[in-house]
Amino acid sequence: MTSLIYMFKEAFNNFGRNALVVLGAILAVFISLTLTFGTLVFGEVVRVNTLQWAEDVRVIAFLQDDMTAEATAELQNEVSSWPQVADIFYVSKPAAFDEALVLFSNDEAMLRVLKENPDLLPASLRVQPVDPEDYDLIVIRLESTPGVASVESAGDAIDAMIALRDGLQIMFWLLAVALGVAAVALIANTIHMAIYARREEIEIMRLVGASNWFVRTPFLIEGALEGLIGGALAVTFIVVAQQLAVDRLSELPDWINLAIQNDFILRQGALVLLFGVAAGLIGSSLSLAVHRTLRS
C-alpha cells in the first residue's frame, strides 16, 4: 500500500516537472482519440439513420396486415426469382418495432405512440437489387403484386449519406492511426525525459536494491495517466459536440436523427479510454525498454 501511494506520487510529481512536454503528449492523445471517437460516433449516426437500408437494401415492400405466413413465404419465393433481385429477407412486425425504437430514439411522441401500439408497423420484405440502378423496376413490379401494401425505395440522400460515411471513415481512420502513432511517440518522449530527470534517483534506487518493477511502475503509471487524460478529454469533447449538434440543428429534416443511445456512448467511450491507456502504456514501455539507466 505504501509503495502504491509512493508510485502514484512519483508519477504525479513528473506532471509538474515536465508540464509542457506532458501537455503535448496529452494533446496528441486527445486529437487522435477525438478523431477515432468522432469517426465511431459519426458512423453510428449514419448507421442509425440508414438502419433499414443497411446491407445494400434499396427497396422495401410493406406487407398487408392480413397476410398469412404461407402467403408471405410464397410472395418471398416469387420476388426472389425475379432476375433483378439479388437477395430478399423478411422483417416481421416485432423486428420492425425494435428497429423503429432505434430510428425514432430522438422523437418522444413517436416513441410513445409506438409503445402504445406495438402492432402499428407493418411487416416488410427487404430487397437487394443485383444492380442498385435497377431499383425502380423492382418498385414497379412490387407495387402491382398482391399482398403488398406500399413500396419505398432509398432516395439519393441515403446513398449520399452512406457514400460520405464510407469516404470520411477511411480518411478519419488514417488520420487517427497517424496521430495515434504520434501520441505513442510523444508519450515515449515524456517518459524518456522523466527518466532522464530522475536518473540520479534511479541510480540510487538500484544501489539500495529497489526491484525493477518498483523503479519502472511510476513511469508506466505516468504514461497510462497521460493516455487516460487525453482519452477522457476526447470522449468529453465528442459527447458535448454531439449534444450541441442535437440541440442546435433542430431544423434538420425529421428523418435525420442525430441522437445516439447512451449505451453506445458508454461502450465505445470506455473502449476509447482503454485505447488511451494502452497508448500510454505502449509509449512508456518503449521508453523503458530503450533507456540504459534502467538496465541492470
Binding site: 509503495s3 540510487i204 544501489l207 539500495v208 536494491g209 529497489a210 525493477n212 518498483f214 523503479v215
Partner: protein, 301 residues
C-alpha cells in the same frame, strides 16, 4: 560472506581490470582494498555489488551465487549490501532524513519501520540534529555520514565502500572511519577500497593489495605500504606515472606530518570506542542497534 574464485574481468577494448582473483572474506571482517589508480579496486567493488558480471570465474555474495544471478534478482542481492562512494550520491532535493528514508521506501519497507529506523541510524552517525537539512547545507564529512547512514539503514550483511574518504580532509576522515568501524563491530562485513595510507595504517586490519588486476598482497593485520618492497618491473612506468599524477597521493606525501597526527587520533579514537563497547555501556545509544543488526545477521545468513 564474500568469495571470489578465479575472477577475471575484461572490459570491451581489452582492458583487464581483474585477473584470476581469488579472495575469501569472512562474516564481520574489515578489509581494505589498496593499490594504485587503475589497479582494479573499484572493479572488484563493482563485481561484488553485481553492478557488472565477471568475464570469467565465480562470485558468491551473502550465500548467493552472484555471478550467475539473473538480472531481475540483482535488486534482492543488493538489499544485503550497503554501498558508500567517494561522491556521496545523495539526492540534492531531499533532506538528510528523506535521503536515508529513501533507501527504505524503495525497498517497500513499512512506514512505521522507516519512522523507527531512520532516527536510530541518524543517531549512529551523529546527525540527529541535522535531519531536516538539505545536503548542500552540510559539510563534506556530514554528507558522507548521511551516505553511510543510508547504506546501513537496511542493516546489510555487507558494506562496500569505494574511496569513502577520497573527498574528505584527514580529520573528517577519522569520523567516517569511526562509524565504519562501529558498523563492522555489529557483525557487518566491511570492504573498503582506499588510497588513504594513514587510515589503513592506523586501523591495522586485513589489507588486500591489487596490482594491475591481480592480488599482490593479502595480510591479516596489514599497513598500506608493502613491508618488503619489490623492485618495480620495467613495464610499470605508466603505473608510476599514474601514481604521481594522483592528487591524493601527492597530498599524502606533503602532509605526512598531519597524517601522523590523524593516524594517531584515529587509532586512539577507535581504541576508546572499543573500550566503551567492551564495558557494555549503552551511553551512545548504539548497543540496541548493534544487537538488532546482529540478530538480523543470524536470521538472514
Amino acid at each position: 560472506m564474500i568469495k571470489l574464485e578465479n575472477v577475471t574481468k575484461v572490459y570491451p577494448g581489452g582492458t583487464v581490470a581483474a585477473k584470476d582473483v581469488n579472495l575469501e572474506i569472512a562474516k564481520g571482517e574489515f578489509v581494505f582494498l589498496v593499490g594504485a589508480s587503475g589497479s582494479g579496486k573499484s572493479t572488484l567493488i563493482r563485481l561484488m555489488m553485481r553492478e557488472e558480471p565477471p568475464t570469467n570465474g565465480d562470485i558468491w555474495i551473502a550465500g548467493k551465487h552472484a555471478s550467475e544471478l539473473p538480472s531481475w534478482k540483482v535488486p534482492y542481492l543488493r538489499r544485503s549490501i550497503g554501498t558508500v562512494f567517494q561522491d556521496f550520491k545523495l539526492l540534492p532535493t531531499k533532506t538528510v532524513y528523506e535521503n536515508v528514508a529513501f533507501a527504505m521506501e524503495v525497498t517497500a519497507k513499512h512506514r512505521s519501520v522507516i519512522r523507527n529506523q531512520v532516527p536510530q541510524v541518524l543517531k549512529l552517525v551523529g546527525l540527529s540534529d541535522k535531519a531536516d537539512r538539505l545536503p548542500r547545507q552540510l559539510s563534506g564529512g556530514e554528507q558522507q555520514r548521511v551516505a553511510v547512514a543510508r547504506a546501513f539503514v537496511n542493516r546489510p550483511l555487507i558494506l562496500l565502500a569505494d574511496e569513502p574518504t577520497g573527498n574528505l580532509d584527514p580529520a573528517t576522515s577519522v569520523g567516517i572511519m569511526r562509524i565504519l568501524d562501529r558498523i563492522s563491530r555489529t557483525g557487518t562485513t566491511v570492504v573498503m577500497a582506499t588510497h588513504d595510507h594513514a587510515i589503513v595504517d592506523a586501523m591495522q586490519r586485513r589489507v588486500v593489495e591489487l596490482d594491475r588486476g591481480r592480488i599482490s598482497r593479502d595480510e591479516s593485520r596489514g599497513i598500506y605500504e608493502t613491508r618488503d618492497p619489490q623492485p618495480l618491473p620495467e613495464s610499470s612506468d605508466t603505473e608510476l606515472f599514474e601514481e604521481t599524477q594522483d592528487g591524493a597521493d601527492i597530498e599524502d606525501d606533503l602532509d605526512d606530518a598531519i597524517d601522523e597526527e590523524t593516524s594517531k587520533a584515529l587509532a586512539s579514537a577507535i581504541e576508546s570506542d572499543r573500550a566503551v563497547d567492551d564495558a557494555g555501556s549503552s551511553e551512545d545509544g548504539l548497543s540496541d542497534d548493534e544487537d538488532d543488526a546482529a540478530d538480523d545477521d543470524e536470521v538472514t545468513s
